[in-house]
Symmetry: C2
Subunit: 177 residues, 2 copies
């Protein structure tokens, strides 16, 4: 065993919400959970094949327009069981994050280093843009209380992503006003 293959659980969880095509999954990864997990379509399609071989999902072929085939996948009872095992098991490790800017900063010894201002200015811009985008998404998705109640976990993690960016920006600004 080398790694954990969390991707399979995410795909199962998303199919557990509703049947989806590989392309649908790709978009959810981009839009909804991209802050906390990433997956390219080149990783999703093979994983769908493996999950189907393991009888955790099945698919039906749909025709859009006149010719365009798409495979709509659904989760099976086996798949649900396998997903539930993961989702309700303890999460006892924190997957450490990676941050290239932070590493570059580590090698700066002096407060007077000529590069510090440019480095911080750049990061402030990046993280402000990210924060703006997240605030926008909150506005779009959760401006009504009903949405919060129906997708509470999604709401919470978006709040967390927003907090995180605000905290990052706050640190940047405090360290280098």
């Amino acid at each position: 065993m080398a790694q954990k293959n969390i991707l399979q659980y995410l795909i199962l969880g998303l199919l557990n919400q509703s049947p989806k095509t590989g392309y649908d999954l790709k978009r959810v990864f981009e839009d909804d959970i991209g802050e906390f997990w990433q997956a390219q379509h080149s990783q999703i399609y093979p994983e769908l094949k493996r999950l189907e071989q393991a009888d955790r999902i099945t698919h039906v072929e749909l025709i859009a327009g006149t010719k365009l085939k798409k495979k709509q996948y659904s989760i099976t009872a086996d798949g649900i069981a396998f997903f539930d095992e993961w989702r309700y098991s303890p999460t006892s490790e924190i997957i450490a994050s990676k941050d290239e800017f932070i590493l570059k900063l580590y090698f700066i010894d002096s407060k007077n280093d000529a590069h510090l201002d440019a480095m911080f200015t750049e990061q402030k811009t990046l993280h402000q843009a990210k924060l703006d985008h997240l605030l926008d998404r909150r506005q779009t998705l959760f401006s009504q209380q009903a949405a919060v109640d129906a997708h509470y976990g999604h709401y919470l993690i978006l709040e967390h992503a927003i907090n995180r960016e605000q905290d990052y920006l706050n640190w940047l600004t405090t360290a280098r006003p």
Copy 2:
């Protein structure tokens, strides 16, 4: 080209501070920059070989005790140039983080889900322990102003790690008091 090989720059940066063995590097990864990057010795030793073949580092063999050989690596002029190119280049992408707990949370639809309390309690414990450890390290490394002045970047990233954990804990507590 598939990925960025940031590890090589980190090794060069650490050797730029002072000559080190592979084992020394391993410990720095565990202790100092583990919050933001991880590397096992099985990744470090081959990378040292590659860097030496590229003439970016060299080594001398030292004998500890009577027999134990160790290879002490130093950075070359080429290595310094290569490192500087990286460290002073723009960091225009944010490497997205991964967090398994957050993903499990995403799939919880209702505020009344019976698992929520246990999930949050577990995470509070984990992140509190991490925060305690970081506060401890700040006390050890940076209780004197001279240390802050001599290793300003290291100080800043430790502050950031502390902020981040405090923010995480704060979110956990606010969402599930």
